[in-house]
């Protein structure tokens, strides 16, 4: 049956790997945001040539499982690219997760940009403001407020998705669990510990998400 003593013993061992999860999450979030902003702006302005490309990218990233993307990148593309072959698993996972999350975030950001109504743009133009002034002073400040909650949600999803990193051999929480499991076969306690760790992280972020949503809604 469930052995509390073993659970308590295993919890800090598995928990000590959260830094890998955080590392992956933070790096991927930063690059995903960069990708997301660029793709969103291309889609928003329908920049000739690039626009079709970004639509295909978003469609592929959102329309295929991330596990397949990980394998395709690390085992498939690696056959033809020395650069990918030389990557550590941690970097490879970061790249795929950034690209994947970037597609999702670009849609959140695009939606936010589109949420600023045409009338305000016309008002800015009618006063002689330039496109740049319109974007930086009117559209972005409003879009950020709209985009923050969904982006935060994307980050929460990203944290859970990092649990796939072990499939490429990154020694994260799941990796530690597997190693312990191979020694003791006490999967019941081990994966209970894994779930508890993820749940606590997501729970805390969930509270932050709620606060953020409230703050964004009441700003003006």
């Amino acid at each position: 049956m469930f052995k509390i003593s073993y659970f308590m013993e295993i919890l800090p061992i598995i928990g000590s790997k959260v830094n890998v999860t955080f590392e992956l999450t933070i790096v991927s979030t930063i690059f995903a945001l960069l990708v997301g902003v660029v793709v969103a702006i291309i889609s928003y302005y329908k920049v000739g040539g690039f626009y079709q490309l970004t639509r295909v990218y978003v469609s592929i990233m959102r329309g295929t499982p991330i596990v397949a993307q990980l394998y395709f990148f690390y085992y498939g593309l690696a056959l033809y690219s020395a650069m990918i072959r030389n990557m550590t698993p941690l970097i490879a996972v970061s790249v795929v997760m950034s690209l994947n999350m970037g597609a999702f975030m670009s849609e959140s950001i695009r939606g936010a940009l589109l949420s600023v109504d045409e009338g305000q743009k016309e008002a800015a133009y009618s006063l002689g403001m330039t496109n740049f002034q319109l974007i930086t002073r009117i559209i972005i400040p409003q879009a950020v407020r709209v985009a923050l909650p969904p982006i935060f949600n994307d980050v929460i999803n990203l944290i859970k998705t990092t649990s796939l990193a072990f499939m490429l051999g990154v020694p994260d929480i799941m990796g530690a669990a597997k190693i312990e499991g191979a020694k003791t076969f006490r999967y019941f306690e081990i994966y209970a510990a894994v779930m508890l760790i993820y749940w606590v992280i997501i729970f805390v972020l969930g509270i932050l998400h709620k606060l953020l949503e409230k703050k964004c809604a009441s700003m003006y």
Binding site: D117, G119, Q120, E122, A123, A124, Y125, S126, L127, G128, M129, T130, Q133, R137, I138, P141, Q142, R145, Y220
Partner: protein, 251 residues
């Protein structure tokens, strides 16, 4: 009455959205300083389009627009010319179109600081004066979402006045308002008219047009069908279409 200084000149202005939809057909119009011109007419006859062509929110197909001495030819206009042209006019919109992320005061100050590059203190002083003039001084720190439609529109008028335009363009400024809020906005516009602000006003408020306008244009089918004093156009219309329209409105 006007001092006969032309503020706005429109020459042979055409707007075609495609070969089938010709919205404006050869519009010629001169607006003198201090004139208050009401533009009346049935829906879809190009009243708003004419107004929006003046500041290139709608790009005309061909023709010349001149405001405050700056001439722009539609067939060879540049981005720079358009921005310059826009600095000579300002617009009050049907949907107010205030910047939602800015307070009433910030809305009025925005163009002064960003477009006219005025120092902040000066911009604030001008803006506070204008907000006072439209009776919105107590609400200067409110965001648009916390203001009624009429209040938003009065801030919109202050914002348009701030840039000291050669001509103020009103695009159905009361059409989106609840009936009980129309009065406060019309009173604000009336006081501007009395101070001699040059204005072009697209409106469905015939009674108001009769009262404040120095000149009335009646548009029909993309053309100016009648042009005269309010007495001529509204009280004693000679044009058959004008008569039909006025009868229809009165019902």
């Amino acid at each position: 009455m006007g001092t006969e200084t032309p503020m706005v000149k429109v020459e042979h202005l055409y707007k075609e959205f495609d070969t089938e939809t010709k919205v404006l057909k050869d519009i010629n119009l001169t607006v003198n300083k201090n004139e208050v011109i009401a533009i009346l007419g049935p829906s879809g006859t190009g009243k708003s389009t004419l107004l929006r062509c003046l500041n290139y929110l709608t790009v005309p197909t061909k023709g010349i627009i001149e405001i405050g001495g700056l001439r722009v030819d539609a067939e060879k206009h540049t981005k720079k010319e358009v921005i310059e042209l826009r600095k000579h006019s300002s617009m009050v919109f049907q949907g107010y179109n205030l910047f939602k992320n800015k307070t009433a005061l910030e809305n009025v100050m925005e163009a002064l600081i960003q477009v006219q590059k005025k120092p902040k203190a000066e911009a604030e002083k001008i803006s506070l004066d204008l907000l006072k003039r439209v009776g919105m001084l107590e609400r200067k720190d409110f965001y648009p979402s916390k203001l009624s439609g009429g209040q938003q529109q009065r801030v919109g008028i202050a914002r348009a006045l701030a840039v000291n335009p050669n001509v103020l363009l009103f695009d159905e400024p009361t059409s989106a308002l609840d009936p009980e809020l129309v009065g406060e906005v019309l009173n604000t516009i009336k006081s501007l008219a009395e101070e001699g602000t040059t204005m072009l006003l697209v409106t469905h408020e015939i009674g108001f047009a009769r009262e404040v306008a120095t000149r009335v244009l009646f548009m029909d089918g993309g053309r100016i069908a009648a042009d005269g004093t309010p007495e001529e156009i509204i009280d004693h219309p000679e044009n058959e279409r004008v008569r039909q329209f006025l009868n229809f409105i009165k019902k």
